[in-house]
Subunit: 352 residues, 2 copies
């Protein structure tokens, strides 16, 4: 199979971790007889520096032309704490999501038995946790009308959802539930928000199409609590953009394996795969960042974008082996030997 | 001193836990030579049943006439999962907040050494946690314009903030920081939302009036993570209504003492005190609910509404004593003797 992949390394540690994912992907492709053609493209602060735009048109075209996009991380401290900056890396991210129509952000949280002690939660609370959030990514308050009024003394943001937007996200949720434990939780704030009531209505209507799926409806504040109390009680959760932003980040730290969590953003045509961690500028260029989340994002790409399950499984297996054998970066070394980012990548590629 | 207190017991376990707070308050008043006049009033499902309205005018008048309001809990399962219900207990809550102008919700999270093992977090993560959220309570997306458009196929909610609204909440935050460790964290989503940018601007301008306070600005998704990772790093946090709803609930479970956490809602004239737990309908009428959060809310009331610090301290001391002596309800009994709600209240009143 010929795989055309756009490669958006981004900022900070992005390029370093992406390099390892490329090595591992190439190794798995060689093993299974595929050929990957990588098309690198600029994004984030790197793109602002080069062409004054965090998501340039050429990058968009590269993504559209590709079968999948592999993404590193974006963000640079010089843009932080400057709400008035005209061009910011995050804008590139939002523009990319919207232009590529990446409406469903898939964010799994699971545990690695060997890393369970890294969780801030007690072992008995976190054990067995294996949940996945489907966050709506191209609607809601992120993309509604916003502005100032009354002589700059009032600010407003608008959260909007259409039935169609909710439906396509919810359907993905039901389908995912069917492939997992047939449990779906719809997270909203229907006791206050009209958009949440539309979400709840729409999901309730879909229930009859998936009679095997057991659906629960929970308020976002309650889920924020229960994720800390009993995360293993959840399986598939669907939610709107802003709630998803907050809850997926909360969920990501409970496993203790945040540096290992991959994600996917799915559209009708294009899909994008990226580690959930940020650009971690303090570590950039030092060859110390943990590349596993990006490598596992590549595994998600093989499975989700190309339907290549065995290839994905091979990557996951070699990652597990590296953890078991202690071939890990300093964040996981725990007093043992700390391997460099590039050494971990080399080891994974060789052992696949 | 003569203290006029409106008493809104509400639904579920509300009346039971309120009874204990009344006993303890009367005992502390007797000891220090005050006289309390309690004015009971209806709210929540109880008020819907009696007069068809969750926050009736008479209740509002009783609150306005009082020096402080002591509140139990509201909510009843028969209104849940029915987004179309015309009258719901929560509406009473929102109406009450707005009509009484309760713009600042004070939500502390702290640990009791004897209960630290109840936390879902590991001891070393939670130890020393003592933070307080100031949540804006009468603005934002809770009270903005909302509705349907496009033949009922589109729903929207509007989040609005004025500079004045942000300022009065932020000032309370700065003042609270001055009385504590002089650290203030402003939680927003200024990389996306215009209202958040207004928040950040406004808080930045106030910094010069409180030169001793060290202010940090963090995104809501990052705070959702760090609250689980290192809650003890925070002291005073200020935030808007919806973020506050989610984060205060998340914070409340990390200490392991959710059943003990009090809260206050402050306005220019009136202030209201209530436990953060809900109406817990399954336990209603069984005399088993833990009354300590309500009793500690009464302590906050003595201190905050009446400036009676010694009285508040006396209540906190007797609560600590009850915990140390194992005079606790079944949720804290841990195999030991479980006291009834009313027995804990009697014990506290007697030992004050
Ligand atoms: C950078 C920011 C705009 C973005 C978001 O809020 O969506 C990020 O937090 C994320 O979750 O990918
Ligand atoms: C019941 C609900 C409307 C309310 C809120 O969201 O404010 C509750 O969750 C709270 O935090 O007091």
């Amino acid at each position: 199979m010929k795989l055309n992949i756009a490669l958006l390394a981004g900022d900070g540690i992005g390029p370093e971790v992406i390099d390892q994912a490329v090595k591992v992907s190439d190794a798995v492709a060689a093993k299974f007889g595929h050929e990957i053609s990588w098309t690198p493209a600029l994004t984030g602060a790197a793109a602002i520096d080069a062409v004054g735009e965090p998501y340039p048109d050429e990058t968009h075209e590269a993504c559209v032309a590709a079968d999948a996009v592999l993404f590193g991380a974006i963000g640079h401290p010089r843009f932080d704490n400057d709400p008035s900056a005209k061009v910011r890396p995050e804008q590139g991210l939002l523009k990319m999501r919207q232009r590529l129509g990446l409406f469903a952000n898939v964010r799994p949280t699971f545990t690695f038995p060997s890393l369970i002690d890294k969780s801030p939660l007690k072992k008995e609370r976190i054990e067995g946790t294996d949940l996945v959030f489907l966050r709506e990514l191209t609607g809601g308050i992120y993309f509604g009308k916003r502005g100032r009024e009354d002589n700059d003394n009032t600010a407003y943001d608008t959260c909007t959802y259409t039935r169609t937007e909710v439906e396509r996200l919810a359907k993905k949720g039901f389908e995912m539930a069917m492939q997992r434990s047939k449990k779906l939780c719809c997270v909203d704030k229907a006791n206050v928000l009209e958009t949440s009531r539309l979400w709840r209505e729409t999901v309730q209507k879909l229930e009859k199409d998936y009679p095997e799926v057991e659906v629960s409806y929970e308020f976002v504040d309650a889920v924020a609590m229960r994720l800390v109390q009993w995360p293993s009680a959840y399986d598939v959760l669907i939610t709107e953009n802003l709630f998803g932003d907050i809850l997926t980040d909360e969920a990501s730290v409970i496993s203790g394996s945040m540096g290992l969590m991959p994600s996917a953003s799915l559209g009708e045509k294009t899909s994008l795969f990226e580690p959930i961690h940020g650009s971690y500028p303090q570590a950039a260029g030092k060859d110390i960042a943990n590349p596993l989340a990006t490598v596992l994002s590549a595994a998600m790409m093989f499975e989700t974008a190309f339907g290549l399950k065995e290839e994905a499984e091979a990557i996951r297996e070699v990652v597990n082996k590296s953890l078991a054998d202690g071939v890990v970066t300093e964040d996981l070394a725990d007093g043992g030997k700390a391997y460099k980012t590039s050494e971990v990548g080399d080891w994974l590629a060789k052992n696949i």
